[in-house]
């Protein structure tokens, strides 16, 4: 009886593998299909023709890619500048209404951003931030702040207090003790926060549309326009370009996000 247990196990893993890789490979097929008509199970013509169109100077994909990556990098920098002090305070220092402060970072994700971004776009338009990289970076930062603050808080909470206290009692100032002792130990968790923020920014669609477009063209917008136009190949190729950084980070995330940090997120 026990020897037959591999059958349901293999069946379960197989179904799961199909549900995860089936959709992805369907997208891959479309990215390299020149011609594909119903009811053919596979494309009848393969090639890179559509890749040339996407990455031609008039295709706009290079510009969108450059915009998307620079916005994401700037968003990471701004998020960490805000989250490292906040996370340290939430993890280590006595704060009134701590639970309330933690939950308030959830606000930007707790409301359909659409109407909010419309109002932001109006204000940004008046002060000249609409249609600029800076405007999009601000919107992306606020949107991803819940992840970076919560993960930074968990990362600092997982660092033992002893080292910092020893440094302080040997005469190190608070900033010195923080920079030399606590920050390096919290670094893997903070890197994980940076990764999440980077991908959130790459993924972000609504804010980019209202605050960025049409002056700042971003990849998700390029993808959406192609999909709305019914062009499966161009949409799939753009999707594939967005997919690559995601998969790379996916393979690396557990190196940064250890169990002792994970179990403290949101507390």
């Amino acid at each position: 009886m026990k020897r037959l247990l591999w059958i349901p196990r293999a069946l379960g893993l197989g179904v799961l593998a199909f549900l995860i890789f089936g959709p992805i490979s369907n997208l891959l097929l479309w990215a390299f299909a020149e011609k594909w008509f119903y009811p053919h199970a596979l494309p009848t013509d393969w090639g890179f023709g559509y890749w040339g169109r996407v990455f031609s100077p008039r295709g706009g994909a290079w510009e969108a890619l450059a915009n998307s990556v620079s916005v994401a990098l700037l968003t990471v920098a701004l998020s960490l500048a805000l989250s490292i002090p906040a996370g340290y305070a939430l993890a280590r220092l006595p704060l009134p209404a701590r639970a309330l402060i933690l939950i308030s970072f959830l606000i930007p994700q707790a409301f359909p951003n659409l109407t909010v971004y419309v109002n932001i776009a109006r204000v940004f338009y008046q002060i000249g931030l609409n249609g600029t990289i800076a405007g999009v970076v601000i919107v992306h930062t606020v949107h991803g702040l819940v992840l970076s603050v919560w993960i930074a808080t968990a990362a600092f909470a997982a660092v033992p207090v002893d080292g910092e206290e020893a440094a302080r009692s040997m005469g190190a100032g608070p900033l010195r003790a923080f920079l030399d002792v606590t920050l390096p130990q919290a670094m893997p968790g903070l890197l994980a926060a940076a990764i999440f923020v980077f991908l959130e920014s790459l993924d972000e669609f609504t804010g980019s549309y209202f605050v960025g477009a049409p002056d700042v063209q971003m990849l998700p917008l390029t993808l959406f326009t192609a999909a709305a136009g019914g062009n499966y190949q161009i949409a799939s190729i753009t999707a594939l370009v967005l997919l690559v950084p995601s998969v790379v980070f996916m393979l690396a995330v557990e190196r940064f996000l250890k169990a002792d940090v994970l179990s403290r997120i949101g507390k």
């Binding site: 959709p23 002090p85 909010v116 993924d203």
Partner: protein
């Protein structure tokens, strides 16, 4: 200087506030920094303030403006937008609640099953494969997920092709899956790895002793998962599900790209009201409705959290 290091006397608490008086007196002459600890609540607030202020200025204020806008009508303040909303979008509100609720439930169930197997599974190879497998959709953007599902769930997509190849269904009778099922599948596909990652991390940090003891006493793996492991990781599960819930309530690309016909989700309706009619009143009112839904869910979380702290 080293000679004056404090011995292992009573330690200050982790948050430094309940400092015992004798220790403070002994160390005070050599360690003036400890006097600054009295001012720490202010220091903490000052460190949190920039992050908190950016949420306030760039989200809460525009949010307040949109709530205010929900009650603004050509004839002054009133409920006209909500009356119109109830006429036009009652079905969509229910549709949204059902889709997001079902997706959250399925995400929780599948994440629990996967994380549970990762924690309690006895076949090392199967655990390793599963650990490698489940995370793939984790960081795939929602726009990409929507496009992926558009190809996979289409009438001529790979799902239908595989079902008919396996003889599980007749190709002629299979239609497109791109309706409410498509939205739920896209949400569950994208959110399950995220919740699983959090949950498996929490489960891995648990004390193995009780788990082994229960197993030795003959408890089945399902019972161990349900009675011992899951209750201890329940807070992490709830945190993950809340983040998923609010994410699904905010995503515009998935409903727009998978199922934009009626009935559809509130997010698609808001975009439509603004793009097609420039009707900010009803759009803002729809925003208020989804705020109420997520607010109810957040309150549930806060109450669970408070009950546990007592």
């Amino acid at each position: 200087m080293n000679a004056t290091l404090p011995s292992d006397g009573p330690r200050p608490g982790p948050f430094g506030s309940g400092q015992p008086a004798p220790t403070a007196m002994q160390t005070a002459p050599h360690h003036p920094p400890f006097r600054r600890r009295a001012a720490l609540p202010l220091a903490g607030l000052a460190l949190v303030a920039p992050a908190l202020l950016s949420v306030l200025v760039f989200f809460v204020l525009p949010l307040a403006a949109s709530v205010e806008g929900a009650f603004r009508t050509p004839e002054g303040r009133g409920l006209a937008n909500f009356v119109k909303l109830a006429e036009l979008y009652r079905a969509d509100i229910l549709f949204t609640l059902l889709i997001v609720g079902l997706s959250t439930l399925l995400t929780g169930l599948i994440a629990t099953a996967i994380a549970g197997y990762l924690t309690l599974g006895q076949n090392p190879r199967a655990v390793a494969i599963l650990r490698w497998l489940y995370r793939w959709p984790l960081f795939i953007p929602f726009v990409v997920t929507a496009q992926i599902m558009r190809t996979f769930l289409a009438k001529s997509g790979m799902l239908n092709a595989s079902l008919s190849t396996l003889g599980l269904a007749d190709a002629a009778t299979l239609g497109s899956w791109l309706d409410w099922r498509g939205i739920v599948l896209a949400f569950v596909w994208k959110q399950t790895p995220f919740v699983t990652l959090l949950l498996a991390g929490a489960m891995a940090a648990l004390d193995r002793g009780t788990i082994e003891a229960a197993r030795n006493l003959g408890a089945s793996r399902f019972r161990v998962l349900w009675d011992i492991v899951l209750p201890q990781a329940a807070r992490t599960l709830m945190t993950g599900l809340i983040l998923s819930f609010v994410t699904m309530m905010s995503v515009l690309s998935v409903p727009l790209m998978i199922n934009a016909q009626s009935p559809t989700m509130i997010t698609a309706d808001i975009a439509f009201r603004i793009n097609a009619y420039g009707d900010y009143g009803v759009a803002n009112a729809l925003g208020v409705v989804s705020l109420l839904m997520t607010g109810a869910f957040a309150i549930l979380y806060l109450r669970l959290g408070l009950r546990e702290r007592r």
